[in-house]
């Protein structure tokens, strides 16, 4: 039994419908929203700002702190208990590592840049949606940033290599699934997030990274447009 058709009719290298908007949380220094189909992430950036407790301060540069959290009603099955989990802590960490390479925090010693990612709706690909939203929010916050970061999940469902796995594919019951979230620096093409669950060959990995790069180029164009659109609004008196 091979995987011939995706539930929603997408081609194997198509992503779900993407929506992106910048400047959605007024109190934040920078904010954005990013959707892959039914997976929806908000990101808010506060900083650089004062960092307590003192012992966390780095006198040479600012630190980046990421917090990924799913809202209690974000799962299509049971309610998610608030307070985070080991999974969300790990995602917070890899998100931070995915974003740090583009930032220069030397100008902000002893301070912190806080990134909060919250998801009202999750259906696979939540960490990648979160990273896409967070990158826009960091740019919106005016931080020194040498590149944008774009992220997507690629993988293998049975014998097919696919882009942007949805919920049904992640949990595909009829065979093997490999899920590979990737994040890429848009202009340099360097990889800042790479995780993999499943079994693939070395060659398949190379293919997957190529697919991810192509998809991330499209995501980058959408992130760019969302950032520029914020300033297109003409106010009428």
């Amino acid at each position: 039994m091979t995987y011939n058709k995706r539930d929603d009719g997408r081609k194997f290298d198509d992503m779900r419908k993407i929506e992106a908007k910048v400047g959605v949380i007024d109190r934040a220094d920078g904010s954005a929203m990013f959707k892959f189909g039914n997976t929806w992430a908000y990101a808010a950036v506060y900083g650089p700002r004062n960092l307590f407790p003192r012992f966390l301060q780095d006198p040479q540069k600012g630190i980046l702190r990421c917090n990924y959290n799913m809202m209690p009603f974000s799962s299509s099955s049971e309610r998610v208990r608030p307070g985070g989990s080991r999974r969300s802590k790990e995602i917070s960490m890899v998100t931070e590592k995915a974003l740090l390479p583009v930032l220069n925090l030397d100008e902000y010693p002893n301070s912190v840049v806080d990134v909060f990612i919250e998801l009202p709706q999750t259906e696979a690909g939540s960490r990648t949606a979160g990273i896409n939203a967070a990158a826009m929010a960091l740019a919106d916050a005016g931080l020194i940033m040498k590149d944008m970061v774009s992220s997507v999940s690629v993988g293998k469902v049975d014998d097919k290599l696919v882009v942007d796995l949805d919920y049904a594919e992640e949990a595909w019951p009829e065979g093997d699934v490999a899920d590979t979230p990737v994040a890429i620096m848009a202009n340099s093409g360097k990889v800042t997030l790479l995780q993999m669950d499943g079994i693939i060959s070395k060659d398949e990995l190379k293919e997957l990274v190529k697919l991810a790069k192509k998809a991330c180029q499209k995501i980058y164009e959408i992130q760019k447009k969302a950032l520029k659109d914020k300033y297109k609004v003409e106010k009428n008196e």
Partner: protein, 236 residues
């Protein structure tokens, strides 16, 4: 051949290629990588001959020496006061720098500046660790009484002040409000309730529309409509 890929006043995102080739000069907010000049942040392109720089549209205030700022007293110590400066770094105001009057040792410092009060002051020192010293001694530097303080985007302060203060003067003229603009994004204003409100809305308008052309005229029209005063034309 060198080539500039963007126009003046374009909005660019981090990493975007602004120019190709070695002939152009990377200014603030940009960096060179190989043969290209890239955007080093979200910003507004400003081209001056062969130099390309970016003007920040957003971002928290970074303290600079000689900036005039509005700080809020958050701590009264034995030797001075600590002020919140609306950024990641608070500032120290020593007894020596508080006033042109002599403050004797052991004086009750609350009598000069107390918790929660706002002070217009000047930044005298910023160390590499971003320890900030300020002074309230000097012309135009003093405690603020009455009125209200609003927060604005620190990057818009130059537009709110205008060339040689022309924009803020126009608002003062139309509304009759006293206005002091801090480089750190705090603005103090005082006047009749209705006038204060118009001032706040005028400043918000400048913040929202600063990157669009014809700002001064639009603000002028807004002020004339709201206050019913006829403003003199500004010579550019």
């Amino acid at each position: 051949m060198s080539k500039i890929l963007v126009k003046d006043k374009d909005i660019v995102v981090p990493g975007e290629i602004l120019a190709e080739g070695m002939d152009n000069l990377p200014g603030t907010g940009t960096y060179r990588e190989g043969e290209n000049i890239h955007a080093g942040q979200l910003g507004l392109v400003s081209i001056n001959g062969r130099a390309i720089k970016l003007i920040s549209l957003s971002g928290v205030y970074q303290p600079k020496v000689d900036d005039t700022i509005i700080g809020k007293v958050i701590d009264v110590t034995m030797f001075g006061w600590r002020l919140d400066t609306n950024c990641a770094y608070s500032a120290m105001l020593s007894m020596k720098e508080a006033s042109s009057d002599f403050i004797p040792k052991g004086a009750d410092l609350n009598k000069y500046f107390s918790l929660g009060e706002y002070v217009v002051c000047k930044i005298t020192q910023v160390t590499s660790q971003k320890l900030v010293d300020i002074s309230a001694k000097g012309p135009g530097l003093h405690k603020l009484r009455g009125g209200r303080v609003i927060k604005v985007n620190t990057n818009k302060v130059p537009r709110i002040i205008g060339k040689q203060g022309s924009m803020v003067s126009m608002i003062k003229q139309a509304t009759g409000c006293k206005i002091i603009v801090g480089q750190n994004g705090l603005v103090w204003l005082e006047g009749e309730p209705k006038s204060e409100l118009i001032t706040v809305r005028a400043i918000k308008k400048i913040e929202d529309e600063s990157h669009l052309s014809g700002l001064t005229d639009r603000v002028k029209v807004f002020l004339e409509k709201e206050t019913g005063t006829k403003l003199e034309s500004n010579s550019r």
